[in-house]
Amino acid sequence: MIQRCAGLLILTLVTTSVLAGVEQKSESWDGSRTTPVHRFPMYDENSEQIVPTYKAAFPLSTRYTCGTCHNYTTVTQGWHFNSSKTPSPEDATAHTGRPGEPWVLVDRQSGTQLPLSYRGWHGIYRPEEVGLSYWDFTRQFARHFPGSDAAEGTDRERDPDSRWDVSGEIEANCFACHNASPKQDPSEWAKQIARENFRWASTAASGLGDVNGMASRMPANWTIYDGPNKDDTEFAVAPSVAYNTTSFDSKNRSYFDIVRKPLDKNCLQCHSTTPVGMDHSQVDSDVHSRAGVQCADCHRNDLNHQIGRGYEGEAKAMNQPDRAEFTCRGCHLGETADGKAVVQGRMGAPRPRHAGLPPVHLQKMACTVCHSGPALADEPIRVRTSRANRLGIHGRAVWATAQPGIVEPVYVRNSMGVLEPHRMMWPAFWARLDGEKVLPLKPEQIREASKGVLDAEDQVVKVLAALAADTETTGHPVITYGKQVLVRTDNGELGSNASGTTTPSDTPVFAWQDEQTVTPLIPSFEGSEKKFSSDAEVRLVRVLDTLAPLEPAGEIVIGLGDTISRKTLEGALETTVSSQQFPMPVFLTLVNGELKPLLDTSVVADAAETVGGEQPLTERAVATVLARLKSNGIAGEHKGAEFAYISSGKLFRESNGKLTASDNKAAEPVSWPVGHNVRPATQSLGTKSCSECHSENSPFFVATINAVGPLRTQSIASVPMHEFERVDSGYHKLFGASFAVRSTFKLYLLAIGSVLVLVLLAFSIPAIRGIASALSRREK
């Protein structure tokens, strides 16, 4: 027995050391600057080799496919994968360095724009603080997420509602960055995430196979081992992958165009920022890109994927001294922020002359102040970012959102006393007040509590969606109101395609739009009899059929004049005289003999007012919801507690049906430094003259930063730039004004200096002559 145990122990030790040796061999770089050809077998999450012709094949697993050669555990310790591993909020800054862009939980209906991050940055909420589990976080943000981290669902015990067993985990998606193939499709990735096909997403996005079905529609007890759903082949179709067999060779290996340094386009999928309203043709790329420098040339990393962020102070914060070389100052000036010399001119970085620029600028301001982001204008401009505004996802649906409102550049002094250009946004959310504490509420809680108040757009969309089920008519259903033509967009939201061809109406008109022609769904009666034409009757019966699911407790009928038309059991349309009058044709619900409009005019009016607009909430609606929250609480709890809504830099409370605004720390903006785009030197701030900043009314100091939020209100926070810069505005106005006489002052000093030189010469020349003659006399 002892011998057997000893034998097993020796075998284990030998095996471990052999494996460790293999691993070490594969991890170390042999010195070649080439990238190996990545033709290799694919493995699934059970570490089984994928056979593409096998119908029940699992999706590929990067943990086992890429992990065969590259240590998956080491890779997933990297910056892109470690946010949820931040030790604790208290000492987070020590591990996470300079603030970066947060994730923003955006919910249009409830007016929520909540900045979230696991990194513990100042002013940004940790997801668990607002009740978001890893599952919730992954569903919200994995569209622009490289996988692993929270997306591996390690907190499933804490969230019984999570569906990780159905969806699978999202492993680190190596292909998102390292696949140089034009087949790599981030939009496909986002679609698979929206369908909760987590474990299938990387296979689909890489183009290796086609994924069908939706995990989001599968029952909670379904797992991948259950295979196809035999009971439902149309709606609840189980996710499955059909591999493109032509991508595999005879040994079931597949070739991937893998690059060590990710292509810029892959980085930009999640890290784009563009000014709002600017046409694509007007946007310049970063000056480094134009010079041939790739993102990963500066933002480099080893296998540990600790990607350099490139800011000054990173070397110290992350305890990695070599990071100091890969900052603006490191490459271009050959020095660290502390003035220590490092290798200058990496990647051909030119050394700037900064002619005439007092060196104090280089000490008190980050390089990005003058060189990065949009040029200084009268006010900061609105920008959209990939992750906050869901950019770069293409398809029929429009994913991009106008919210959250982000502005830049706002010059903010950082903790080291250095000025940096920042992007800034203002949190917007509903909260329960507990003394001084402001406790954010989840959008779902507000949606539930505000039914009938904040869901006008949803109600209209629901009706339009039901009408769209009529596939026999070409075009799509619309509701016209005022000058608006309300439509359901491809991504299921309410849109408007205001058309000049329709007659403005002050009551909602249900209609059908084909090209630019808008035809009312309910036509007038034919002739003098109160009867529709036979064609109209057939169509209206079909419409009533499609609308029927909206009122399961009763039926949908048509009101026109003093008549009611309803569908008979035989499928015909029966018109009877009603005691009520309907001046305009309208769809009604009939429940227990009571008639109600299918959509109230006020609901359509609210929807028409807010549709497409950036600010979906009105003060009236917010006051109503706050009063309702106070009396009803949240899901029956906290009745009588005080609630508030935060938007545009203010905290709003309800009092006697009206809103009162006040300042509050929770309403303060959050900001993060701008790194890119770097502009050419000729477009740098101060190139034209010092007075770009140093003048009495330079926006650099006096611009007003107006808060942006989802609430339509006059009560918004307006903060002058110099408050974020923490400078004395009076002094800077005076100093700026002095630049008006600076040229004269320079000439004045030049003149006085020149005269002094002449005086010196006038008296020194005779002295020199005297010395010379004295010497020559002695010689005699």
């Binding site: 000036l333 700037p352 002359r353 900064h354 002619a355 005439g356 620029l357 007092p358 060196p359 104090v360 280089l362 000490q363 004395d728 002094y731 005076l734 100093f735 002095s738 600076r742 002052f745 320079k746 004045y748 000093l749 030049l750 006085i752 200096g753 005269v755 002094l756 030189v757 005086v759 010196l760 006038a762 008296f763 020194s764 005779p766 002295a767 005297g770 010395i771």
Partner: protein, 139 residues
């Protein structure tokens, strides 16, 4: 002796006063390590510098002859040296400040000019004190 002794003394007093202001506004902010002249200290320094330049030019005109080589040879050469040392220092101060405000020097040049300005300022203070302390024998 000057032809206009009152004006001469008045100008001399102004130069002395402005030198004190410039010294305080220039050196006091630098007392802390890593600190630099900025804010209202800087504004005061610049305004005083403009006045000082004019006052000093006037003083140079009024006293240059008194400290010329021929007069200095007759005895007061140390004071004359202090005077001309002061003149040279002030020229350097003006030149370094003026050049710094032009779009000519690069960052290294700017830093060099700052150093020159500081050294010239220390030198001006030394020559100024020397000039003040050493009195002419006939005085």
């Amino acid at each position: 002796m000057s032809r206009y002794p009152f004006i001469d003394r008045l100008i001399c007093l102004a130069v002395l006063l402005l030198m004190v202001i410039l010294g305080v506004s220039g050196f006091l902010p630098l007392a802390q390590p890593g600190a630099r002249i900025e804010g209202y200290w800087l504004l005061t320094h610049v305004v005083a510098a403009g006045a000082f330049a004019a006052a000093f030019l006037a003083m140079a005109f009024m006293r240059a002859q008194r400290h010329s080589a021929s007069v200095a040879a007759s005895g007061g050469w140390i004071r004359a040296a202090a005077f001309w040392g002061l003149v040279i220092s002030v020229i350097l101060l003006i030149a370094s400040a003026d050049l710094q405000m032009t779009p000519v020097p690069d960052t290294r040049g700017e830093l060099l000019l700052t150093r020159i300005h500081i050294v010239a300022a220390i030198s001006a203070v030394i020559w100024g004190v020397l000039y003040l302390v050493i009195r002419p024998r006939h005085a």
